[in-house]
Subunit: 253 residues, 2 copies
């Protein structure tokens, strides 16, 4: 019997349990926005834990935007609890259908970002992208890891959109998919030509952006993401279960 090195589930910390209990109460509306939570002393008694545990749970609730506390007054549920942060996985790290959903979101944002970049890129942006592609191919020629150069390239594209928020979001999505790039940039992927193929796609993307051709940039970027999804064995129903609409087909070309 072979075991995947799964981090074995440790017994929960008390503060984790309490955090989940309170988070559930708030999400369920059992404690409404603006309402005051029970005092720390009361919660400590209610859950039979020490006040230190309560304070740690509260600290986490505060960090995630569920509650705010005022010294002397108490702790209150925020107007829109939990709306301050966005996580990919609500709780479980790796649900089955989740990964394809992430790729679909990435498909949307990276495609539009490429289109925006084509419309707004400045000369410096193009120079950056090209220099990163050069670095990438140099690394590939030496058989080194080109992951860093790949990262830098995508950052340069995001930078060219002129929208820092879009750039940060793309980076956020990409960070959760680092495993997905392994088959491309690993030694194996390099030997099988996947790395060079990816580098070619990058060149086509920067060409479209340089030409100011938003539609082509979007198509190339989407194809790039789709290819990455395919390498993981994911089938994205991009066109949906129904037949593709003819009006929409124009830009998917």
């Amino acid at each position: 019997m072979l075991n995947v090195p799964t981090a074995l589930a440790r017994p929960d910390r008390l503060s984790d349990s309490l955090y989940r209990a309170l988070e559930t109460r708030i999400r369920a509306g059992s404690i409404q926005p603006g309402e005051k939570l029970p005092s720390e002393k009361q919660l400590a008694f209610e859950f039979a834990v020490s006040r230190a545990v309560v304070r740690e749970a509260m600290s986490r609730l505060k960090a995630e935007g569920y509650v705010e506390s005022r010294q002397g007054a108490g702790a209150f549920v925020t107007p829109r609890p939990g709306a301050a942060i966005f996580r990919l996985s609500r709780s479980g790290p790796r649900a089955p259908g989740t990964l394809s959903e992430v790729f679909e979101l990435r498909l949307i944002v990276e495609g539009e970002a490429a289109a925006l970049a084509a419309l707004r890129r400045r000369a410096g942006d193009l120079a950056d992208m090209r220099s990163h592609i050069d670095n990438m191919e140099r690394a590939l020629g030496l058989g080194e890891d080109a992951t860093m150069a790949d990262d830098a390239f995508h950052r340069a594209v995001a930078q060219a959109t002129g929208n820092a928020l879009v750039g940060r979001f793309i980076e956020f999505l990409g960070g959760h998919l680092s495993e997905s790039r392994a088959p491309t940039w690993s030694a194996e992927g390099h030997a099988q030509g996947r790395a060079h193929a990816a580098a070619d796609e990058h060149r086509r993307l920067v060409d479209a952006i340089a030409a100011g051709d938003a539609a082509r940039a979007r198509a190339v970027a989407r194809a790039h993401v789709l290819r990455a999804a395919e390498r993981l064995g994911l089938s994205l129903p991009v066109t949906g279960p129904t037949q593709q609409n003819t009006n929409d087909a124009i830009e998917e070309t």
Copy 2:
């Protein structure tokens, strides 16, 4: 002199300061991923605070995915610190250029979500949207607040995409823009016909989705978001500073 009820800045809690100090160290790479943080006792001495303060700062760092701790071993920086969550505002709540960036991101995602909904909607989804529009117009007729119905409608659209992640992200973005909808649904907006205009836009959107016309659904949704931005006095450079590309114009129609 009239004062806006601005929540006056209170002096920072000690744990907040310590949190920022550690977060900065980690972001700057001063403590590398995988590395072990100083022990709680050491940090307490170093910053001249009690261990309770240190533990609260650590609790927040853990909640936001910067560090993980193992009892008996110590606390370690995660492989990709801070990559677990996404926030709109890195620190300051309301930077000037930020709002338009949020709207642009919303433009992208809501537009594509509408297109996806047009391709994948099921009969039940359409029924939901229409019933929420009915609720909305009924509320408008009675002069009541239609904000809830508006929320429900947008949720139904997101639901029709078949991608729960996209739905959650749209909701996340929308939650940060609740103020932006006030001028639409307020009594004033109602009197000036903005509320009914928005309702009309909703009808056009559901028509496009029902027809399976992805391009039209996207265009209507984007126009809807643009209108909301205009009401806030934002000018989104959608087509970029340069002239719009002809290839891209096809789908913007």
